[in-house]
C-alpha cells in the first residue's frame, strides 16, 4: 500500500519567491511503528523552493510523504505556496503591480522617477500627458517563471495633489486654472442628454 501524501501550505515573502529560498518544515505525521500501531511522529524537512514561485503555486516532493506499507511506494508531499502581502507590490501570476504616485506637473510634462523593484530600484521615464490609471510597463521586472523568463512590473499612474501648498504654489495653480480650457467633466452634459445608451 502506498504511503500517505502530505499537503502543507508554505508562506514566503515576495523577496523569497524572487530569489528562491530554503524553508524548514516541521511536521507531525502519522506513521506505522514496528508493531503496526499508527503513531504521530515529528519529521523535519529542509526544502529548497527555487526561483519561480508565485501565489497559489503548487510543488510536489516525490517520496517525501508517509512510508509505504508492505513494499508500497512512499507517499509524496505537496506544497502550496502562499505569498505574504507586500506593502508596495501586488502579485498577478508572475506580473507585479505598483501604484506610482505622480505630481500633476510630472504627469503633464513627463519625468524620470525612481521605482522600486525586487531586483533593486530602477529609473522609469514617465512620458508627457500620462493619464491617471495608465499602466507603465517595466518589462521583465516581475517574478521569475519556473522554466525561464520573467513576468513584468506595471506601474499604475496615480495623479496626486499636494496636501499642503504654500502661497506661491497656490498662485501658480490659480494661474493655470484661469489660463486653461481643460474641462474634465465636459462629457457629462452630452452623456446625460443623448439617451443613446438605451438602444
Amino acid at each position: 500500500m502506498p504511503g500517505q501524501d502530505y499537503e502543507v501550505t508554505v508562506h514566503i515573502s515576495l523577496e523569497d519567491a524572487f530569489r528562491g529560498t530554503e524553508v524548514e518544515l516541521n511536521l507531525t505525521v502519522p506513521e506505522y511503528d514496528k508493531e503496526g500501531f499508527l503513531r504521530r511522529v515529528p519529521r523535519a524537512f529542509k526544502v529548497r523552493i527555487p526561483r519561480g514561485a508565485t501565489d497559489g503555486q503548487r510543488l510536489r516532493l516525490a517520496g517525501r510523504g508517509g512510508k509505504g506499507i508492505n513494499g508500497g511506494r512512499d507517499g509524496d508531499m505537496y506544497l502550496n505556496i502562499a505569498l505574504h502581502p507586500h506593502p508596495l507590490l501586488r502579485v498577478s501570476g508572475h506580473d507585479l503591480y505598483l501604484d506610482l504616485p505622480l505630481a500633476p506637473w510630472e504627469a503633464v510634462l513627463g519625468a524620470t522617477v525612481e521605482v522600486p523593484t525586487l531586483g533593486g530600484p530602477v529609473h522609469l521615464k514617465v512620458p508627457p500627458d500620462t493619464r491617471a490609471g495608465q499602466q507603465l510597463r517595466l518589462a521583465k521586472r516581475g517574478l521569475p517563471k519556473p522554466h525561464g523568463g520573467e513576468g513584468d512590473l506595471f506601474a499604475i499612474a496615480q495623479i496626486v495633489v499636494p496636501t499642503a501648498t504654500n502661497e506661491r504654489e497656490r498662485a501658480l495653480f490659480k494661474q493655470l486654472a484661469e489660463g486653461s480650457t481643460f474641462n474634465p467633466r465636459g462629457h457629462f452634459q452630452e452623456e446625460m442628454k443623448s439617451g443613446s445608451y438605451t438602444s
Binding site: M77, S92, D99
Partner: protein, 108 residues
C-alpha cells in the same frame, strides 16, 4: 531530528503527466481517470493523441477526486461534478486576485 534536503517538482501548466503517472500518483484506476475525462472533470492535452497526457494542475484535481470518493463515498459522477465546481472556484479566485492586483489602492 536532522533535516533531509529534498528536490521539488513544479506542478505548472507546462509540466505534463501521462495517464499512467496520474494513476500512480492519484490512487484512481485508469478506468476511473477515463471516466473523469468523459465527465469533463479533467481534459487531456490532446484528446485525439494515442497516449494521453495531462497538465500539471490535473494532478491536484484527481487527488482531490480520490479524497472525495474515499471521504464521502461518492460515485464518480458526483465526484466529477464537485471537482469541476472546486476547479471553477479556484480559477475565479485566481482571476479575482489578478484583477484586484491591477486596481490602484487609495493613496495615503
Amino acid at each position: 531530528m536532522a533535516a533531509t534536503p529534498v528536490k521539488v517538482e513544479w506542478l505548472t501548466e507546462d509540466h505534463e503527466f501521462s495517464l499512467g503517472e496520474l494513476e500512480d500518483l492519484s490512487g484512481l484506476s485508469e478506468d476511473e481517470l477515463r471516466e473523469l475525462v468523459a465527465y469533463g472533470a479533467i481534459t487531456p492535452v490532446d484528446p485525439d493523441a494515442p497516449q494521453w497526457t495531462f497538465k500539471g494542475g490535473c494532478l491536484v484535481t484527481v487527488r482531490t477526486a480520490c479524497r472525495l470518493r474515499i471521504s464521502f463515498d461518492l460515485d464518480l459522477h458526483a465526484v466529477a461534478l464537485v471537482v469541476s465546481l472546486l476547479d471553477r472556484i479556484h480559477d475565479l479566485e485566481a482571476q479575482l486576485g489578478r484583477l484586484r492586483a491591477q486596481l490602484p489602492h487609495r493613496i495615503r
